[in-house]
Subunit: 364 residues, 2 copies
Amino acid sequence: MPLTRRAFAQRLAATAALSNFPSPLLPAEGSRKIGYCMVGLGRISLGHFMPGCRLSQMSQVTALVSGHRDKAEKYAAQYNIPASNIYNYENYDQIAQNPAIDAVYIALPNSMHAEYTIRAAKAGKHVFCEKPMATSVKDSQAMIDACRTVNKKLMIAYRCQYEPTNLRAIELIRSGKLGKIQAIESANGFHETLGEWRLNGKLAGGGPLMDVGVYSLNASRFLTGEEPVEFQAYSSVIDKDGRFNDVEENLSWIMRFPSGVLASCNTTYGANMPGFVRVHGSNGMLHLEPAFGYEGIRLQAQIKGEPAMDETNPAKDPAQFTREGDYFSDCILSGKEPKTNGEEGLRDMQYIERIYRACGRSLL
Amino acid sequence: MPLTRRAFAQRLAATAALSNFPSPLLPAEGSRKIGYCMVGLGRISLGHFMPGCRLSQMSQVTALVSGHRDKAEKYAAQYNIPASNIYNYENYDQIAQNPAIDAVYIALPNSMHAEYTIRAAKAGKHVFCEKPMATSVKDSQAMIDACRTVNKKLMIAYRCQYEPTNLRAIELIRSGKLGKIQAIESANGFHETLGEWRLNGKLAGGGPLMDVGVYSLNASRFLTGEEPVEFQAYSSVIDKDGRFNDVEENLSWIMRFPSGVLASCNTTYGANMPGFVRVHGSNGMLHLEPAFGYEGIRLQAQIKGEPAMDETNPAKDPAQFTREGDYFSDCILSGKEPKTNGEEGLRDMQYIERIYRACGRSLL
């Protein structure tokens, strides 16, 4: 039974007070929650997106897709999901007949994003897909086309574009307080372990650039509001321990934006490289660190003639997942096009392809 | 009259206590101070190197070269320098006849470094030259040859290579505690004002890469202990206000080292870009910031299984100038080759030339 508008408002206000950031979304009076089918029960679904839905007034997990029935039943019980709403990768297309499913959440290895997005579209469902969108430009375009054909929404989970402290950074830049933006540094990486799918070229499509470097790429774009026009890059493998037979270990790239802004970025699977972005303007600089994590996003800024700024988003994980999920639920309910739609994901895929080409590699 | 060894030791101990870092140098018993002739009375001479000598037991300012006699006389009085030890750019070669001058300190616009180094060598003096060494590889080699021919020392003022907190960072990396080094980010830049010689291509030879980017270049080399083998770069001009008719405003470059370490660096004259270096290893990371300034150099490190490290060099400006000056004085007294000799400067000049070429520019 839907909550009244007033009850919604009270609960949202309570959440907002907790997080110190107002939640921008309020579902239309009388609307039901958007039902999500989890496609893939890995760390991000189980540890983040599903707990995020638990805190939401707009999104709920109503179905699961997994190759492991036992595992699915265990989590179905925790989320009050009936056994009839558990699917596997073979009977996945039957979600078409399930009205409890409005949308799917694709949290599979990268190379499977396209297939499961297209099958979801054919089943008449909206698609919320983790980044990177796919493992090729062609697949990305096919995903966009499949969703458009059936008039369903496609959103790529660029979580940072919905995170309040990242939004503050954008606002600070757009306000002109930093002056003319000149340069950006960014990095993001972690130490990946042998055996993980991210090291398998067929499943991942690429190395750390695909998985974590894309945060620096996407942030450089949303912070400047520009699209990069040129790329140069190097990749390297230092650890000859069998982890990097398919994918690169390290990748450094530079990009030039039309205004002349230059960005230099690093990514790696060989070191725990804290995610940061630093933006230099003629009138000041800002530094986001951690910039891309699930909680504790911190913004520091030094602007000429103003006191130093130092703000941390106090919201705890999975608040960011609640927020991006609610945004997509609102898009579905209101018919609004998501700001991080398929085209946004496609652009990054095109840039990733060009970065790989610049260092003599290619998407796998 | 020279101090006794004991008096020296006491005064050095007092200085060391002040700075929390032991001074590594102790002049040989009975040795006199090395006499320096300042070539160029700009900010770095007057504000840093000369005050640095005042605090030194090994170095003293004994002569001045300036195009402005009044200015020279004013500072000569402050430093008890006799009027006979004031030179101008015409009679500069007469320093040959002045036994109070052991060495010259070259703090002129970049394009003048070669000429005044070579004339000093011909006058039989040792040369301590500010970075960048020169404005061409050819000039750099000529400077090395000129000093070698007369058997005089040539040291390039790579201050950071003598600064204790930078040295701690090197030590931390060499100890293996950071594991295998994978990647480096670095930046350094400042907002330069119209009319300054640094914006004049003929005097500067290049833009921020020459003047401040060279810190990131040099630090990437001394921190890894490797020589970069490949470079890619972009430059840009964003501010069309007449400052950047000759030199670049922004420059981003990436370098590959033989081990596979990748470094990405930014420099600018369009923003106050705090100097930093961040080094990522498989077992931890270190961050130097400020990394290159005259005081307050701070080292933070996160190493797996160890408490976080956060150390700041408490020594105040001009302690770094005292230290690098004393190092060179010790080289002169003991016959030791400076670690940042002409060849060290030449290597950076070669890399700078390659970075400019990589972005379609050249040394000016």
